[in-house]
Amino acid sequence: MLIRKSPDVRYSEVTPKSLYLNRRKFLAGVPGAVLAGNELLSPSGRASAATTKLQTVQSALSTTGERINPKEYVTGYNNYYEFGTGKDEPQQLARNFKTYPWIVTVEGECAKPRKFTIDEILKLAPLEERVYRHRCVEAWSIVVPWIGYSLSTLLNQVEPNPKAKFVAFETLYDPKQMLSPLQAGIPLPYVEGLRLDEAMHPLALLTVGMYGETLPPQDGAPVRMVLPWKYGFKSIKSIVKIRLVGGQPASTWNLYAPNEYGFYSNVNPNRDHPRWSQKTERRLGEFGRRTTLMFNGYGDQVASLYKGMDLIRNY
């Protein structure tokens, strides 16, 4: 496995939020001279739910050499169908989503099943800042400085037994706060799954923050997965349950359209979505298209997980 060189600086060091906001304010003020109230209408001017700062350490697993997308790209352009199927809807509809107190149940084939409060999760290990490329199955991508630690840290706490072969995840489904499955267009609660060795891979990030702060609700607060070598929908949001299981668990998009979304859903430019090409992608903020990389460019680290597998058939 190739350990990449750690980045020289972390996101929080590069752009203090106050300076960043001031800059936005200044920029927004220029056209504001022409049209008063402009700032109210621009996405940057919208109020978002409170987030708090997180202390982080550097990580050798952070991706280097990528330009990080501005935060608004990640807070104003979301696929979180429980809060609307439009990209700009979750920012509005998830605004009052209650993410505290929060409990994650870890159970199933393990010696010490238990519940973790979000406070316990935040303190379980030093929080690392990891910059990852994020490739959506819809052929766009972004670069985000996530905060968290490897999921293996949490799973080791409950001591998986030999019968555990897969990990099943579940998102909170609260009809009082979220849309109905009919409105969302997908079965709910949202579920996802990984093979145990995938889940134990150091790149599999249990994520509690981004851009130096806790996650905003529309990005999967308070705790989510980030799996940079898989399509974005595998990175399940707002997790309430993690089960160690013997058989391959169900995953929402696979249930919805099995011929379009497989269990693995590794980023694979050679296996097109039945309705569109996966060869290229649009990096948000860029004009042209980029070539999509196998495993989203993380092949050096994860390709060994799939040795001998037909990745066209096991899409």
Partner: protein, 211 residues
């Protein structure tokens, strides 16, 4: 005459309103984090809406007792083609940047693009032959027959939309229901059954021909 002229100008300005709104959003940086996707969807939506608007003309003429509405049908149809052009150009120039190999693969292999492109070609044929000269050249009857392609175009538009979305099909289903009702109306009044009388379709005596 002046009043008629003014009302056409009014419809023309209305037809441009979606484009103005789009430019306004662009100027104020409100095209989301993925502006190309936004523009593609926006122009596609308006293409389908304008096709639906043209299909509303005939029923509205009857229901409202306003046969004069036919005056605006050509312009509305041309606006449908105008937004279809913007939609196609967004795909061709901004999205794929003249990557012909990729574009031809898309048109041949991606069913929703095949259907969408077919619809675009149909609209182009209708736009080109929408002049009085072409009506004369083709003869009213043949011209009418050709312009029934709009019924296929609306179906192509709905199917293109339906197949392109990931899961939330509410919008395409909504347009599909509208299109189905509008086509059912034609079926009910016998557009598809009776052979039509060949009369010239000119704007001076439109009441007699257009359905």
């Amino acid at each position: 005459m002046v009043k008629r002229r003014a009302s056409k100008v009014f419809v023309f300005v209305l037809g441009l309103a979606p484009l103005v709104a789009l430019l306004w959003r662009a100027y104020h940086d409100r095209l989301t984090a993925n502006p190309i996707e936004y523009i593609t969807h926006y122009t596609g939506d308006w293409t389908l809406r304008f096709i639906i608007f043209t299909l509303f003309i005939t029923p509205l003429r009857k229901v409202l007792g306003q046969p004069g509405l036919i005056r605006y049908r050509r312009m509305i149809g041309l606006f449908a083609f105008f937004y279809a052009c913007l939609h196609f150009l967004t795909y061709l120039v901004i999205d794929k940047f003249f990557d012909w190999k990729e574009i031809l693969t898309d048109i041949g292999k991606r069913t929703y693009i095949t259907v969408g492109f077919t619809g675009f070609v149909m609209l182009a044929a209708l736009a080109v032959t929408s002049t009085a000269g072409w009506i004369r050249r083709l003869g009213g009857k043949r011209w009418q027959l050709l312009h029934r392609l709009i019924y296929l175009a609306v179906v192509a538009g709905v199917v293109h939309y339906y197949w392109s979305v990931k899961s939330d099909v509410r919008q395409p289903v909504f347009y599909g229901v509208l299109a189905a009702l509008l086509l059912a109306y034609r079926w009910k009044i016998g557009t598809f059954a009776r052979p039509r009388v060949s009369t010239p379709v000119v704007s001076r005596a439109p009441e007699t021909v257009a359905r």
